[in-house]
Symmetry: C2
Subunit: 433 residues, 2 copies
């Protein structure tokens, strides 16, 4: 028995499958050495010697997983909200990211980001840095201190950047990647590197070949962007005339899923049938980022199809295409945009349900990290304790109604405690984002 062995009592909600959400009032979830021993309506005798924290009526859920966000963009979230992807990259994002060459600026900006992410509902995240080695190591150092479990990537981009934000050559990009990896591998408990070609327009064929070698050598997961915006897709086709579809431009270099190359692709708003089939075959994870896809007017991804066809899918805040760090908000956004898609585009794809949004935010994205995102026996014990008592109401509410309302109405103030692998990260704080 140790500090990472205890029992929480409360209203326990967790996904068992994409459309099955278990909700139990006055139930117990047991954490043994940081691993869930399961949820019980009556606490089994063998756990009765563990410390019990009675959370009363509070909701207890798995931690939320953010499969896609850009740490350097956090500082300008919610500004310049009137541009589409490529214009936004060139006029806002590249000049902003160039600032991270300055370690003082990076320290200031990333400290704010790491503190706010710590206070949010997110327990695990896959994060883009910038192309700068030093700033990315700094970001990883700061994230390590938070106790959050993250995968972080130094960005690769050797073409189509800006004068201040582009690597000199594919060789230089690969060399910096190796330098970065040599500094961060083995350095952390909670923080892992993930290979991060920005997107096909930013990465020459030669760079992609070099990254593929690095991926194999270090057995790294990878993250990138896919089929987000029409202009971007057309550009990829121009840049890679031999590719059959956007995803194929990654796949040609062996950087598109498969057992040895766990892959997250953000967006997949306009994926073709062939691309979807290949994502399914290779187990590629889709990071669905509904807020970003709205803000930069990319469109609405066919999430119903991805869920029904059994693809891996989780949610991403995509800071700063999206402005909100909250994955509860991403759940609400996912439901909302799916309704508009159903109404405006294709009424054969039914809106996303609360159960499905909750699944994507927990188990759907969590499985990229292993046994994460559920309280089933054997899962890592990532948990949130949620206090909805400030959301007053005169009538009785079921636990499911409370959870649904929480998704739409809560903010960081409503998070009472946050655990990752059984370690407490934040407790009873009233500070928010």
């Amino acid at each position: 028995m140790n500090e990472r062995s205890f029992v929480l009592k409360g209203t326990i909600c967790h996904s068992q499958s994409p459309d099955t959400l278990s909700i139990m009032d006055n139930a117990y979830v047991v954490c043994e050495n940081g691993i869930s021993a399961g949820v019980f309506s009556v606490l089994p005798e063998r756990f009765q010697n563990l410390p019990l924290k009675d959370m009363g009526e509070k909701l207890i859920t798995p931690g939320l997983v953010d499969l896609h966000l850009h740490a350097p963009q956090y500082c300008y979230r919610g500004t310049a909200m009137d541009l589409e992807l490529l214009e936004w990259l060139n006029t806002i994002t590249f000049p902003q990211e160039a600032k991270y060459k300055d370690p003082d600026y990076a320290q200031k900006a990333y400290s704010i980001f790491a503190q706010d992410l710590k206070m949010s509902a997110t327990t695990r995240a896959c994060i883009f840095g910038t192309l700068h080695v030093d700033a990315t190591v700094l970001l990883m150092d700061l994230l390590e201190e938070t106790g959050l479990k993250t995968m972080v990537g130094k960005v690769n981009m050797d073409r189509n950047g800006s004068p201040d934000l582009q690597e000199e050559s594919s060789q230089a990009s690969a060399a910096d990647t190796r330098k970065w990896l040599s500094q961060v591998i083995g350095r952390y408990q909670n923080t892992q590197p993930i290979l991060t070609p920005r997107f096909i327009p930013s990465c020459s064929d030669d760079l992609m070949r070099r990254l593929s070698e690095i991926q194999k050598e270090y057995q790294l997961p990878i993250q990138s962007h896919l089929s987000e915006n029409f202009s971007e897709i057309a550009w990829v086709q121009e840049l890679c005339p031999s590719s059959r579809f956007y995803g194929d431009a990654y796949s040609q270099f062996g950087l598109f899923g498969g057992e040895d190359c766990p892959t997250i692709m953000a967006h997949c708003v306009h994926s073709t049938d062939e691309e979807i089939a290949l994502m399914k075959e290779r187990g590629v994870y889709i990071a669905h980022c509904p807020q970003s896809n709205t803000d930069i007017a990319s469109g609405i991804a066919p999430v119903r199809r991805y869920l029904d066809e059994g693809l891996h899918i989780g949610l991403g805040s995509d800071i700063a295409g999206g402005f909100s760090l909250s994955i509860f908000r991403a759940m609400a956004d996912a439901i909302q945009v799916s309704k508009l898609r159903w109404r405006l585009l294709d009424d054969s794809l039914k809106p996303v349900t609360l159960e499905e949004a909750f699944y994507m935010a927990t188990l759907g994205g969590g499985s990229f990290f292993g046994k994460v995102g559920s309280f089933e026996k054997g899962y890592e014990f990532d948990a949130l304790v949620l206090d909805d008592s400030n959301l007053r109401h005169p009538q009785q509410l079921t636990a499911r109604e409370r959870l649904e309302r929480f998704v739409y109405l809560s903010d960081a103030r409503n998070i009472t405690e946050k655990y990752i692998s059984g370690n407490i990260i934040t407790s009873n704080t009233l500070q928010g984002i």
Copy 2:
């Protein structure tokens, strides 16, 4: 000089037209007897004897106006988010509204609503009650105490309700309306009655005729719903075969705008050219409710067209089709859905800008209340003092960037002070919604 005469100094933002937003750092806005004397970069000598409150870097904006919300629905906002309009009315809304027959329940529910609305950014609102006279008077009593300026309607509905929520006859509905008016007219400083036929499917022709008489007799403004959802529109056509379009079903009874009948119609998602032309001719106000139109999958209103054609338009939270009381959130939602409309439906209608969203939330809706929604000389002094210091950033931000960010990222905690007609309503509170 009195308590309602003072000067605020800060970063002052207000609309001068639908697409002109004045933003001045270190500026002064003068309130004389509850009326704005204008915004100045240097304080004129004649105002230098007034008490000056220096708000430092805080943003100062006009109060926000919510043109459409249902007070009895506030308690279940954010639940049952998987239904379309007509199903949602029948299975959720009507049974919930029926509870307001019980004065104890109404007291509990409306107290929460009034307190939360007081703490929000809203200074003026047009509010639906239920069909119950006593509960509606109670709601008005509670709102009066908050200091908010509101128009509140006892709902009329003599057909197509539920067993527990329908008036017995058109005579009974009209009689109850007169009873309600006799109780509330002259009773309040801040709270005014507004005639509130629920929507055409709820009101028989005979009831509409009676309401028209009452409207003329008491010179009341009216509020209702228009062209929200396809099934609703088809139903109106069935119920009123002689109407040329939905709005015509109100217009036939003289309840659709014109100088003597100030009218708010919520939604207008699917208005026809003829309907739009009539709204313009009659000066009908559109309450654009983007969140509600998303949540109950109604669609996306062509706001760009309404703005370009010079129709009156403001924003509505439409609690509980919408879940958020925040009109800052409604601004963000209006921009967001306009981008999706542009991308998915019609790229001839450009997305709504920050300037336009701000206009709709202030001056656009405010003008329904008279000279409200701006700091131009002669306007009623409704103001918010906004503290964005918890939204930390490492870089310089312009005042416009701060305002834009505020729209997307703020919550009720960021509201430092709220004034209505020069009276302070809330100050330095940290409690939120």
